[in-house]
Amino acid sequence: MQVDYRVIGVLMGAWLVAAGCTGKVDGQTPNCATGQKACGGQCKTVATDQENCGACGNVCAAGQTCQNGQCQCSSGLLACNGTCVSSTATHCGGCNTTCASGQVCSQNSCQTSCGAGETQCSDGACVSTTGGDALHCGGCNACPAGAACNAGVCACAVAGQMMCGSACVDVMTSAANCGGCDRPCNGTCTNGVCATTSGTGGMGGGAGGMGGSTTACAPLGAIPRRLWRLSVEQWGAAVKDLLGLTTAPQLSNRGGEAAYAFFSDATLGVDEQFQFALYQSSQMDVLPAIASKITTLAPCTGTTASAQRTCAMTFAQTLGAKAFRRPVDTTEVTNLMTVYDQGAMTDYATGVGLIVQAMITSPSFVYRTELGPTTLTADASGKYPDTTLNPYEIASQLGFLFLGSLPDAALTTAAADGSLATTNGLNAQIDRLLALPAVKANLTNIIVDWFNVRQMFDKGNKDTTLLSALASTDRDQTAITTELYQATQQFVNDVLWTSSGTMNDLITSQKVYMNKRLATLYPGATFSGGAPSSNTTFVSGTWPASQGRSGIITQPSFLWSASDPAKNSIVKRGKFIHDDVVCQDVLPPPIDLSTPQAVNVIGCKSPDGTTSLSTCDSEILQSDARMMYQPCKTCHAQMDNYARVLQNFGPIGNYRTADEAGRAIDPSVTFTVPPLAPNMAAGSTSFGQLLASSGVIKDCSVQKISSYAIGNMIRTYNTCEVNDIRAKTDGTVASLFKQVALSSILRARAGGMK
């Protein structure tokens, strides 16, 4: 289904006009709202803007905050000779009070030493860990410009401001940080929304499916020429396909790789434990598995040593090319034959086995090379020219992206005949791959992994009362999570390859797949072909509208994995959706959760502990406190709503109408931050529809799959190369993977130094 973003853009523009905030037309002065002035072509709230305080260009100094249009010393600071200073040994409680030599200033009084719980700073200030001022906040460090010190914690004092880098920024109007940090706006940033004149409308640097101008985007730049270690799963799959095994061997060590990593991390290498695991698996798993099929792998009719050696040489050449994803040269064949000769002292089969062992544990198998032509040479200064992957490397890349394993024969042939180096040839191969069942299965798993569903396998410790709908003998959580995973695979496969194939459908579909056990655990679904009658067969069904389910984020597997054993986790769900479904830029690093202020807010109190909610016995109430009070508010106001809208689904993804404290659930939220502000969602169904209609899910899918394809997480939404891909995709999974595969970031490599 195509989405006409121009229509959305016009609608957005109309909304902005109705709100009294027009988009900027390049070269014209904007019409700003009451209380704002046009400064540098942008509307600024001069009453509180740190860099335009009271007037354009009036920047408040360190230790000052813009209050009512005037730069004033932050709370707790002294104004001495036009400068804001802390109470220190030279201004102890007053500008003209200097303590005697060797004394310090504690609680505005000269003392011989700081008091208990105070930190002594080099200027003689004694600072409580729960107090201080903007220049010594909770210790000796200063807060960023524009931030105040609140009970020992730095926080931007003004609503709508965020700490970006080392300063408080008005993300409601900042051209460089529109709606969030590092979100450039090539138009007018109003209320955190970026409005341009291109007619594509737009939401500040964020989502919206609007390509917009790329001149304000952040370039990713060419990836350096590099080696990319196969993941544990890729190694196993490659060995299986190379040797025609029935199952993929598994390594006993992951070499630093996360257990359920979304993508193969390109920064990982081979350490001692990983190398040993490679050897051990080759010895204990692979060699026994091929022992009975040597004559198939390396057929030889000759019986003399010489004849067999010839066979082995042919084997080394052909299998080597397949294993290393490129032709092997004569030196490599010679080296492999040296290995064969050692084994042949025993017999032909041992020699062949050693060749296999050498291949699958060697660097050329374990690494994917992204080095470009082998003839690349450095110049006199030692610099290699920028280049692109050679055809065999492209084949390897497409193999591991689409198949999750070695390139197939057609890819290798296309590399050899040069067609893969052409646009038409590349397109043809990608189109061919996308039609293969094995590719569809692999891409299905990639999409499932995008939502971190496999983490469910480490969470087989749910409170068993949540499983009370099942007979006590039926509550094996290992089996349940396995079945939930299978159900999700089938759901995603259905959406992507049988139904519309769109990301919108992925986030809004009411479909579900269940077996008998799951249908008991999650009642309410209807099955047109009859309810599932066994645990081995999954049947397609539809969620009841009353539950408000919407796509993959309401599939039980996702909700299970993003919850605690006995309760939901608004933090986990909210942060995941913020980072990985809405693809918002990384939030500032959180504060120390063990500080007294944080502990108070976690306990549903104000930071100073003087005010508290009547009770703190539910996730919602705890979220209320986090969204209300600093030091938690800055982040949680941006992420909690993404989970609050899913509160109708409990820790195992079960539908509920009351929360853990027995209170009725109201899942409606109003989004106050981009990209979904100022929309409201009545519940998860409308949330899913909003993610679809706004283009957020499509845009985020491009960012995630691009990250997968290059082995590095792209954390900035407004990345130029990603925007280019977004502009070319039509929202379908096929288009998504194709455009990622065709993009320049997959093939361009910076030369580097010798």
Binding site: R225, L227, Q275, S362, T369, D458, D564, P565, D592, M753
Partner: protein, 522 residues
Amino acid sequence: MSSYKFKRRSFLRAAGGSAALLAPLLRSIESRAQGMAAPLRILIIHHPLGAGPGLATWRPNASATTTNFTLPAESAPFNATATPLQKYMCMIDGLNIVTNSGQNTHEGGVVAMMTGVNALGKIGQQDWSAGGASIDQLLLAQSPTLGGPTQTNKTMFGSLQLAADVRSDRDEVAPRVLSYKAPIAGSDIAQRRQPLYAETQPLNTFNRVFGGNLPTGTDPQKLLAQKLSVLDFMRKDLARMQTLIPASEKDRLTAHANAIQQLEASLRQTYGMMPNTSVCTKPTTPPTYANTSTGKQMMGDSTSVFTTYAGVDYYVSGSPNSHPHLDLGLNQLRLIKTAFACDLVRVATFMWSAGTNWVVFPGTFQGASIKGNPQSTPHHPPSHSDPSGDTQTRDWLNQINTFYSAATATALQEFATTPDIDGNMLIDNTVVVYLTEVARAWDHNQQNMPLIVFGGKNTRVKGGTFLKVTGGSMSTQTGGTGNRPFNDFWLALLPIFGVNSSVLSGASGALMSTGALSGIFS
């Protein structure tokens, strides 16, 4: 024990054709037989979450003197073993971890304490990227006695990094890695750091270091030659790749080459067949430890937790008398002990758990119960309960600290009773550092870091001493000043192994130091 006597010809006959392959082991055995000193070793053991607040249950009371002191509850287990360990111990009180970048967390504490330099930065929530090599790797690289890669007489495996558990709050490196190689050049701090991940399964350690139980066939020498030919191919392949890569990838392949070297050592262990002597005996095959149930999450006052990974907990749910976490840890330490005795390594680190310990303990543990609803819970979450308002949970946490002391004492007891090749005991030639990443868990205070050094007669450790640091300018946990920076300890340790302390004090980004702390070593 009487001096070890050894006959070269007997060894050669016993080893058969593998004798040449066992050259490193043979050489060291011979040299020892000639009466030369056993090598010094270093073992760093980490326990999580500090000590009891106020330290009254960790350090001797105010009436203690340097040589006359009583260990209170949390450290008393070191004296409760059959061979009391106090005589090998120097307990140090008065060192603070000082960082410039707010690393006063469990995650940051591990990195700061083990490297002694500022972190490169933070990745995500608390994942501090190590800015330098860890102390053990510094020692391995620089010491003329630890058998490191630059020495003529290298040990077979260089160093070991083992752990009983590495689960942590999030999927971060900082809290679960003690050892790092020096960071590589670059701009991506995640890519620059070089963690050496710990092995958590004793069986994998056994297989890699002691040759495991891999099939050796009837002609191990022939098999070894075959396997080494595979490694030769790997090296040639690596050399080919070296000619194609840019400089930014050279460190990666150097590490890979080292990994192949280590694999060769493992293969030699397997097919060379370790000799069994009175000092060096191949250990029995350790069990495989399956993940246990993680039990119920604590209700009510628990803070939000972010990740749960299955692992090996204190007990198996439903089997309260099982102790898999303890057994696993002891097995790892025993493997280190044997690796030292066989001179396969001289440098090792061991973590009982990550800095944010996720090993599940019973809600009532060794007589103390968590306040409220004492269900089984991972160790870390309840540790942020304010002890002034919750003495129950405080006591529960103290019991876990006591548990780790007792478990470590059990292992060190074996070091104290295992003969070394010079006729002394292993502890006489091994410096053991017992440390933790915060002093006080509930608020991450890092003043008066709990720290004990063990070592016998040849280590120069002043055993039986309680070193109360005074005269420094840093604040103490309980008020006043007198403390010194933690790096002063490392500056005192480095020269024991022949390493100039300027290697750390002059390192880029070195944390504060005021000079080598005297009184630990003679």
